[in-house]
């Protein structure tokens, strides 16, 4: 069953290669390979739940000399999220791109992006991570530019160049670690790393490189234009997964190799940046005039929430608190992934239907596109963190953890963030439910509306009602005090 690790990367990659050769069959090839990689992701999570963390030594070489793939509860859950969102967005894309040529270009780059994402979640080697980061950055920038509009091109170029700077900083840290500790394998480094200038500099370089990519305040400025100007299915995956992949790496690095380097001040600082991001992102979303821009700013805020969890996870000796916080973090991340992709897909439908996505002029949307408006509402519920969404449980854990750790300021941030989120969601819904005197004829675009609706439903219901498996999958991950003796 460990072969499924390889398949979840190899299937989208094979799909990408085939669709270069047979562009006319790209729809079929693309759908088949994303479905295949969903099956592989399910097999991975099934095996992880059954047998615990998996390691796959590529080429049969011991990790260190060779490269390994690895899956534990954390990476398997994100892999599954990615495969799931990919299937929904792919079905959506078959109808979204009306021009055959544009659709063909989309498919190959899209499948390359997915293989990069899956490779990143499963990587266990630092240089291999650098290569996957570059693959991710290049394919994401190319997809952002797909529309060819001036704004999209500018956003894509800025996205690409900043991403390159981030990767370079990451690579510099990798080079220092190899110089000092003679390995690129994450678990080997976890055992070898000890506090000192080498480790600190490498940690600082790699973390700041990743903070650019995950768009944490104040390194967020590239994100709104990129996510707002990309085609809808691309925005969905960029917002739901690509920024989260960089966050996942921050978490992974600080849980494992850098665990012995973490200090309360540092982790608190990341938490404070997260808090600023929550307030700033939500406030900007409240001001946003366009629906996709609103969604993009809301992503900034949601990334902020994830960083708020870090003080609770990395600087506590309390095993249960850490485990609870890790589960809460994952629930927030998964819920946001589903909700934000639903929101972007629905926004794409609105934009194509109305010819624009100016929020103030969305009156009548509910009459013309009832299913899509319902999707917007479902995604909104999950973004605010109302029950029964998974985000509600996540925020609950955040508050409980903050109380226990006596981090009072966090309560204020969560409260303010939720109120602002309620503000931007209800402002949007208020316009969308407004009655138009002559509503456009009600449309039904099944291949676009149903995937979005499915993601919205999953965000609000699925994780909130069935959250127990998340915790059991995370059991045993990164015991308190890190893995370092």
């Amino acid at each position: 069953m460990t072969d499924s690790l390889v398949w979840s990367i190899a299937l989208p990659l094979s799909g990408a290669i085939l669709s270069v050769l047979l562009p006319r069959a790209a729809n079929g090839i693309g759908l088949a390979s994303v479905l295949g990689s969903l099956a592989a992701a399910l097999a991975v999570i099934w095996t992880v739940a059954d047998q615990g963390p998996l390691t796959y030594a590529i080429g049969g070489w011991t990790p260190g000399l060779g490269i390994a793939l690895r899956a534990d509860g954390l990476s398997a859950l994100l892999l599954l999220l990615s495969a799931l969102v990919a299937v929904a967005a792919s079905v959506y894309a078959t109808a979204y791109f009306r021009q055959a040529e544009q659709r063909q270009r989309f498919w190959t780059l899209w499948l390359l992006l997915l293989s990069a994402l899956h490779a990143l979640f499963l990587a266990a080697d630092l240089f291999n991570l650098y290569v996957t980061l570059e693959l991710l950055g290049l394919s994401a920038a190319a997809l952002t530019a797909l529309s060819g509009q001036r704004e999209a091109l500018e956003a894509a170029l800025r996205y690409l160049l900043l991403g390159l700077l981030g990767s370079l900083a990451f690579l510099a840290g990798v080079a220092l670690l190899y110089t000092g500790y003679g390995s690129l394998d994450i678990s080997t480094l976890t055992h070898r790393l000890s506090p000192g200038l080498t480790g600190w500099s490498a940690a600082a370089l790699m973390t700041s490189g990743l903070l650019i990519k995950t768009a944490l305040f104040p390194l967020h400025f590239w994100l709104p234009p990129a996510h707002a100007n990309a085609p809808a299915p691309v925005s969905a995956i960029l917002s739901a997964l690509v920024v989260k992949a960089a966050f996942y790496l921050v978490l992974r690095l600080w849980l494992e190799p850098f665990a012995s380097l973490s200090t309360p001040e540092l982790v608190q600082m990341l938490g404070v940046l997260g808090a600023i991001a929550v307030i700033w992102g939500s406030w900007q979303a409240l001001q946003a005039e366009r629906l996709k821009l609103l969604a993009a700013y809301s992503t900034l805020a949601q990334i902020g929430y994830l960083f708020l969890f870090l003080p609770l996870i990395l600087e506590t000796s309390d095993e249960t608190l850490r485990h609870a916080a890790l589960g809460g973090l994952l629930l927030m991340a998964l819920t946001h992934g589903l909700a934000k992709s639903a929101l972007f897909l629905a926004a794409g439908v609105v934009q194509q239907h109305a010819g624009h996505d100016r929020i103030a002029e969305l009156r009548g949307t509910a009459q013309a596109l009832p299913a899509t408006t319902f999707t917007l509402a479902l995604a909104g519920v999950a973004l605010i963190g109302l029950p029964p969404s998974g985000a509600f449980l996540g925020k609950w854990q955040l508050i409980a953890g903050a109380l226990q750790a006596e981090l009072w300021w966090m309560l204020g941030v969560v409260l303010a963030g939720s109120l602002l989120a309620a503000g931007y969601v209800f402002r949007l819904l208020g316009h969308a439910f407004g009655q138009a005197r002559y509503p456009a004829r009600s449309l039904s675009i099944g291949r676009q509306e149903i995937p979005a609706l499915g993601l919205g439903l999953a965000a609000t219901l699925l994780l909130g009602l069935f959250s127990a498996p998340v915790w059991s999958l995370l059991a045993g991950l990164a015991p308190a005090g890190g893995l370092n003796p």
Binding site: S14, G59, G66, F127, L135, L138, G180
Partner: protein, 333 residues
Amino acid sequence: MTDVVWGLLDLLLILALLALAWGSLNSRNLQRAVIYFIGFGLLLALVWVRLRAPDIALAEAAIGAGLTGALLLAALRDASHSPDHTDRPDRAWRLNPVPTLLSLGLAVALGLAYLQALEIADPQRLAVAVFSHLEQSGVSNPVTAVLLNFRAYDTLLELAVLLTALLGIMALGQARPAYAQAGPVLAGLVQWLTPLLILVSAYLLWIGAHAPGGAFQAGALLAGAGVLLRLAGFPDSHFPAALILRGMVIAGVSLFLAVGLVLMLVGRGFLDYPPAWAGGLILLIETAATLGIAATLMLAFLGGRPAAWSLDTSTTGRIQAADMVRHNTGDNP
């Protein structure tokens, strides 16, 4: 005595390297900055030779200085059409000492970290592991062993990165207009050089198993031949039919992936070559990769889709000849 000579050589190399880097970052004239950068790349190739990294020297000269330089020069040629983009000296740098100080601070901090890293390190690092497994790798050039066997998965993804960049470029728009047909001197040189480049490329591919060389160097050289033909505006340097062209572009990554997956399906493991076949499989993958890299690098130089990329029935490779007639400015970049 020899130490002094080496020391002088090091000093000379480093000073020249720093001067060229400084020039390429701070020169007011953009064209000059690009020229400095190409010089920087060539000098870097010498540094690689000095540090006993001939594989890297070959790749740097061909890709880092050669093809990147050609790309940058082509970008300058585009810029010369819109006058507001040609020279805009970057005053921000001169007026603002903050970045300079920041870079110095960063350099000092990293330098100290590097000193500490060298001190605490086991100087062998992974070298022992690589050399002790070299015999099982199927090749005797250790760099090729790492690239195509021990860390083959990285190389597979690297080929995917190259493919991504190309497809991203293709999605953006049309290729640059072709260059005018060159005069007799350049044309003669290119005519004479092309077969030689093909020969040297095949040699590098073959020798890569046990001496410096390999698919990337060979592919880059082959692409260089293609770029030269393009620059000289040869009317018959047309592309093959679209399907063949696309097949060439994916040749390396697809064969690599297929070999890996087949080995997994027969029960060995992904990219786990049987030791007896390792040498042959590596040569096979490298041959396909050379073709793929050459086609990809050459097409990436065009900055967009050539007509030959389109699979439409009305378009054949020959259409490229029609491309050649289009307007352009001179017979050299």
